[in-house]
Amino acid sequence: MANSKITVPEAIALVLTVFVAHSIISMPQDILATTKSSTLINLTYVAVIALLIGILIYKLIKNFPSCDIIDISEYLGGKVFKTIIGFIFMFYFIFSSSVIIRNFSEGLKEIFYPMTNIVFILLAFAITCCITNRFEFSTNIKVNLILMPIILISILFLFTSNIQNFSLRRVLPILGDGIYSTFITGLGNLGAFGGIVILYFLPPFLKEPEKLKKITIASIFIGTVYLFLCVGTLLFMFSYLDQIEELLPLYSASRYIEFGTFLQRLESVFLLIWVLEIACYLSIFTKLSSLILKKMCNCNDSRPFAYITSVLVFSISVLPANNAIAGLMESMVYKYLVFAIVFFLGISILLLANIKKRRTLNVSNK
């Protein structure tokens, strides 16, 4: 339907959602723990690499107009391969959503609702996810577009109102732990750019498919600026983040905001904004899983799958026994998944499909 096509700002907001959601939890802290005071240099370097990967993905995927990666994998290896890849991506989406809401709910529980069982908070998220997934995909995307500027402004506000607490000298020594740590080990920070996975699924939904390159570059650029702001806030404010791990470090940064004696302790306002963002992220990722399921089962409506995906998300998020395991899943496991699935698997499928297409073209030309 004409109405359900995505325009360029909506697509950019979709990719940015992933950056924002993970940076609320513990992504900036993980980045800082890896590269300490050379983080800003490392981030620039990693962002350039991510941009190159994004452009590579664009070049590979544009040979298959209006096809997303599930269709391409069907072209490559038939229905069985399509099912396998579909399940892998579905697992990735559901896992990352569950981990996010688990970590965020842990934070919520510790800080704001100490006497509530965490199951209720997770249940609230799961029910929201179920309700929003009963709408069309375009609805979720439009809501995301409406909320994205508010979130970006909030992080800018967080950065600017903490400037009085900044000490810019914390950036020194400039090379942090050394060149090897900054440039080789620091490549692990590429896990922050997991938003690129959305690019695999965008082409069928775009109103103007030729704008995919613009979307890629713009979203990675804005995402990098956003990461700079988050990481910068933490780096300049706290000198101990490389030794001490905090729950929701951006929340700790927001506790310092003070405007005279009237406006203090604004972190509840940030909580409100972050709840909106996490719920948006959740609804989009579970909707993507429903769409993958719909493709795999050859149905024409993805709405009944809303129940399945929300139950799955809820059950996986209840699994970790305590905060430590949940935090480990977010900081370690998620990063490896990004590398394995988003970068390695996705690009290899695209490469192989392109090679196959070129071979068939050569054969047909002969």
């Binding site: 004409a2 109405n3 309700i131 709408f135 439009k142 406006l263 203090q264 306002v269 409100l272 904004i273």
Partner: protein, 563 residues
């Protein structure tokens, strides 16, 4: 079996049965030169043949579908001869007594003037030469004869181009066409109802006109016609209701409005099997897409200037006989927050007031919920002095905070509803006294705290700032939902509530147009956002209605500045 059926129905898949309609981008007809204005075509002269003139006028005014255009053909008597003629006018704009007595009667009925025998010609001069007499005779001129002798009407003008005749008809005159004449008569017979129309009751503006619709549909259509002043304005007649057969008018501008939209509205109006239709409110509910959440999807207004503005934007209007409200469709979220006065004021003032209205909407829906969630969960947000004030005032109050706030909100709604029914002489006094006395007495008795009274009063005042009545009602109801969510789960509950509510709002479609049309999906057309740009930038119509003519102003609309 029943249990099996029950489980089957519980877990089976039922395809969605919501009605899908979307306005398709009709690019083929989007051509700025396709707008057929009189000024663009060459000035067509009136033909001497009556049948050709008749066909021309019928086509021009779309007489077959336009319901208030009247064509009266008759035989004109002049000088004993009979000529075919017709007069052309718009019903509701003319005074029929004048037309009958001073136009039709002298032209149709036999009288001294028109039975005058035309065989005697007037001799002007005579010359004799070579026994041959040459006489110069004044030829009989029918046009001047009709004009000078037959029509005792105070203002008659001969026009030789269709353009002038049509503009006369549009302004309330009638046009007389006579066979064999290549001119027409533009006769002044204006008789539409003026100013028995009253001031609008509920939509008061400072700088705009103060006319409002009345119950009679003909008067309403004449009000619209006078403002739009163009022959492409179509008013189709539709009857709804098996018993009452209420007359409804479907109004649109022919070469501007998207034809799919018009067809869809007509389809919905024609497919209502009800016994009676008594008001436009009923019709609004009958043709809305869905009634989820009570969100209004059709704008209803009692101002003709507002109606004309939306007509010129490319929307469709429905008038119902017996109801002073016009229904405008499709209507999106920002229309319900717009006042008819916005375009009359300077942009700076209009945008300031729009910002205030947006703030008022947010306050109405969120303030009680935010207050109770801050007091229950997030006390650190309060400045310490405010916190101690709240604590000290709450010392004497026996109720828990949620009960207190519900008590006050419901009393406020009671006062509001009672105020509608109090007899008018003492109405305002009672409401003021009631509010003051109640509030003061309640605080002194220690039943409620003063801070809460302020919160509820601000919420109530903000709800009055919302221009549209039904939208304001919807917002007032939903603040209870956010109040409950804030009480149970603090900012987390409110956040979840905002997300779900926003999703519902974005999902709604009003006649194929998404409810949050210019905001999401994002439209990069200046003039389509919530805030108004300066008047010289409002070049384009909003694209979500897909009008046939997109540009409404030249790039440089103030041409006088160039010279």
């Amino acid at each position: 079996m029943k249990i099996k059926n029950f489980f089957n129905n519980l877990f089976s898949y039922t395809p969605p049965n919501h009605y899908e309609f979307s306005i398709i981008d009709s690019t083929s007809t989007k051509n700025s030169s396709s707008f057929d204005t009189i000024s663009e075509e060459n000035d067509t002269k009136i033909y001497p043949s009556l049948s050709v003139n008749l066909e021309y006028m019928k086509t021009k005014y779309n007489v077959l579908i336009n319901s208030d255009i009247i064509l009266r053909e008759f035989t004109l008597n002049a000088r004993g001869k009979q000529y075919n003629a017709f007069i052309f006018y718009i019903d509701g704009m003319i005074d029929s007594e004048i037309m009958d007595k001073f136009i039709l009667e002298p032209l149709m009925l036999r009288n001294k003037n028109n039975t005058f025998d035309g065989s005697q010609n007037k001799v002007i001069s005579e010359a004799v030469a070579n026994n041959i007499t040459v006489r110069k005779v004044k030829k009989f001129d029918l046009a001047s004869y009709v004009m000078n002798c037959l029509m005792p009407q105070n203002s008659v003008e001969q026009v030789s181009e269709f353009k002038k005749a049509i503009s006369g008809i549009n302004s309330g005159n009638c046009a007389l066409f006579i066979d064999t004449l290549n001119i027409a008569f533009d006769i002044e017979v204006k008789g539409f109802k003026q100013r028995s129309v009253d001031k609008p009751e509920n939509e008061i503006v400072i700088k705009g006109p103060h006319e409002a619709f009345v119950e009679n549909i003909r008067t309403n259509t004449s009000l619209i016609r006078r403002i739009v002043n163009n022959e492409n304005l179509i008013i189709e007649n539709i009857e709804i209701g098996d018993i009452t057969r209420t007359k409804c008018g479907l109004v649109y501008i022919n070469n501007l409005t998207n034809s799919d939209l018009v067809a869809e509205v007509k389809y919905r109006l024609n497919n209502l099997s009800i016994d009676s239709l008594l008001s436009s409110g009923q019709l609004e509910q009958l043709i809305s897409n869905s009634n989820d959440l009570g969100v209004p999807q059709i704008l209803s207004t009692e101002r003709p200037d507002r109606t004309s503005h939306y007509l010129l934007e490319g929307r469709v209007v429905v008038l119902v006989n017996g109801s002073p409200y016009a229904l405008i469709m499709p209507a999106i979220l920002k229309d319900f927050l717009a006042s008819p006065d916005d375009k009359n004021m300077k942009t700076l003032f209009a945008n300031f007031i729009k910002g205030i209205r947006l703030l008022a909407t947010l306050i109405t829906i969120l303030l009680p919920g935010l207050y109770i969630s801050i007091c229950n969960f997030h006390q650190e947000l309060l400045p310490t002095e405010l916190l101690y004030s709240i604590l000290s005032f709450r010392e004497t109050v026996p109720f828990p905070m949620i009960l207190e706030i519900l008590l006050l909100e419901i009393s406020f709604e009671l006062i509001r509803e009672a105020g509608l029914r109090v007899p008018s002489p003492i109405g305002p006094t009672i409401s003021i006294v009631g509010a003051l006395v109640l509030g003061q007495a309640a605080v002194s008795a220690g039943i409620v705290s003063p801070i809460l009274i302020i919160v509820v009063a601000i919420t109530g005042i903000a709800s009055f700032a919302i221009p549209d009545y039904s939208f304001g009602f919807h917002i007032r109801i939903f603040r209870f939902l956010f109040l409950f969510l804030g009480y149970v789960a603090g900012f987390f509950g409110i956040g979840i509530g905002i997300l779900v509510y926003l999703s519902f709002l974005v999902e709604i479609k009003s006649f194929g147009v998404p409810y949050t049309a210019s905001i999401a999906p994002f439209e990069n057309v200046p003039g389509s956002s919530y805030y108004l740009p300066p008047i010289w930038k409002r070049e384009y119509r909003s694209s979500f209605v897909n009008p046939q003519k997109v540009k409404k102003q030249d790039k440089i609309s103030m041409q006088w500045k160039l010279h």
